[in-house]
């Protein structure tokens, strides 16, 4: 089954909007679960995605500590004398952040199950100017070129007998800064060559251009889009209701406390 890239974009937009706007950890976990299920449906290699996210665990730790140090809420989990290092709120904020990122990244990989030409075409049929869509896709195409360039340079350095892994950090930074210019130069040269061949094939020859590829949404696409919106708005509603609920119960509770204090004074 071939799902239109626009349908995938809508799914991703729904999921990441929810991820950004919801602040409840349980809700977020639920959305993450949904995201993972949808990714599996689209045959995304979710394990690899999760492996990539593993590198962000440091960020989780950093956020947890920063939130703990600077906010006074929550119970102290780890402390050094008067200094708090980790609190429950800190851990919660860190977890929320990481779940949010996981939702956004794994939903974004859903789009990558369409190829770049299909995505461009989807955006163009949504009236995005072709040039803009094309530039973005060329930019994305350049990432592996840049990575290759960096790898080559590091291999070249190692061939000269320098073991990058064993050099101390300060020297390592020096070596990297030394690589920076040649990598930049050769990447620019490649970009220039690419732009020559793009130009020589009539890029921007006219205001308009035709397209060999034409995307058509099937009823399955419309169905999926409809359900995505339905689920997203339902979830948003549930979340808002629930937070309103907790808010009013909080009010009620504070009123009760206030009254009991007054009562005690009176007694």
């Amino acid at each position: 089954m071939n799902i239109d890239p626009r349908t995938k974009l809508i799914i991703v937009l729904c999921l990441s909007t929810l991820a950004i706007f919801i602040k409840d950890i349980l809700f977020l976990s639920g959305i993450l679960l949904i995201t993972i299920m949808i990714s599996l449906f689209f045959k995304v290699n979710i394990l690899q995605v999760l492996r990539e996210i593993k590198r962000l665990l440091y960020v989780l730790l950093a956020i947890a500590v920063i939130q703990s140090v600077f906010s006074t809420d929550g119970q102290v989990l780890i402390g050094l004398g008067k200094l708090t290092i980790l609190t429950t709120v800190g851990v919660q904020k860190g977890l929320e952040f990481i779940i949010r990122i996981m939702i956004i990244i794994s939903s974004a990989t859903i789009i990558t199950t369409s190829n770049s030409r299909e995505i461009i075409q989807g955006l163009v049929q949504w009236r995005l100017p072709y040039e803009v869509a094309f530039m973005v896709s060329i930019g994305i195409r350049f990432l592996p070129i840049l990575r290759e360039e960096i790898k080559d340079s590091i291999v070249a350095i190692q061939l000269r007998g320098i073991e990058i892994k064993k050099t101390p950090l300060k020297k390592k930074l020096y070596i990297y800064s030394y690589l920076f210019t040649p990598i930049l130069v050769s990447t620019i040269i490649k970009a220039q060559k690419l732009s020559m061949s793009v130009e020589m094939r009539g890029f921007r020859a006219y205001e308009r251009r035709t397209s060999y590829m034409v995307l058509r949404m099937s009823y399955v696409d419309y169905l999926i889009i409809f359900f995505s919106f339905l689920c997203a708005t339902t979830l948003a509603h549930l979340y808002i209701d629930q937070s309103v609920l907790t808010l009013s119960s909080l009010k009620r509770m504070s009123y009760f406390v206030y009254n009991s204090i007054r009562l005690r004074k009176f007694l």
Partner: protein, 235 residues
């Protein structure tokens, strides 16, 4: 007489470069002719054909003097997009010419820019894939092909523009032996089709296809004599 390619007393100097890379080059190529240009590395062969296809002065600035005409029309009076309908160029490095996720999309890119109708593009894709003998790779990702196959797709993508003039800038130099044989066959076929071709070559083995061999030396084009093979190599 009107020539597909006519160069009169061309001088060229890159920006911020003291040397004149081209120093009074002259060239007339007749319709259907295949001209090979040899010369040492750095002698300005690429610079010369950038002048023919309008990359100079439309993309690279610099100081140009003299005249380059395509079918009698000065390239200064043509936009790059107009030139691209008359002159096709294939470059040395196969990797920096391909940017689409499938071979089909890659070939369609040029005709799409020229507003060719969809069915026509379909026909062109079929035709050029037959020409380069790569029909079964239509839906492959060009990034997964070998160097020679990539170069064949780069050629096909340029052929889909259906230009009368073709420029090949050392297109065999980064290709393995098997790929070279195939590409040489393709060039031969194009010559028989009546295309006007300029072939920049580093390798003397590839000159047999040419009707005429010129040498770029000291910024000028001259007849190539078999004695002047210093710096050129056989493989």
């Amino acid at each position: 007489m009107i020539y597909p390619i006519e160069i009169n007393n061309l001088h060229y100097k890159y920006e911020k470069d003291a040397r004149e890379i081209l120093n009074g080059a002259n060239l007339k190529v007749a319709k259907g002719e295949t001209v090979a240009i040899v010369g040492l590395s750095g002698s300005g062969k690429s610079t010369l054909i950038y002048n023919i296809c309008g990359i100079i002065p439309h993309i690279y600035r610099g100081e140009a003097k003299g005249q380059v005409k395509i079918w009698g029309k000065d390239i200064l009076d043509m936009k790059l997009s107009e030139i691209s309908t008359k002159v096709g160029i294939v470059f040395q490095d196969p990797d920096t010419q391909l940017f689409s996720p499938t071979v089909e999309d890659e070939i369609a890119f040029g005709p799409e820019n020229l507003c060719i109708a969809r069915e026509q593009i379909g026909l062109r894709i079929k035709k050029v894939l037959e020409t380069v003998n790569m029909e079964e790779y239509r839906l492959e990702n060009p990034g997964n092909l070998s160097g020679g196959q990539k170069q064949l797709i780069a050629i096909a993508s340029v052929l889909a523009m259906e230009t009368e003039i073709l420029l090949f800038d050392e297109i065999l130099s980064q290709v393995d032996k098997e790929g070279r044989i195939k590409i040489r066959e393709v060039i031969k076929g194009l010559k028989e089709e009546g295309k006007t071709i300029i072939l920049i070559e580093h390798d003397l083995n590839n000159l047999q296809i040419a009707d005429r061999v010129l040498q770029l030396k000291d910024g000028k084009l001259e007849e190539f004599k078999a004695g002047d093979i210093i710096g050129l190599h056989r493989t």
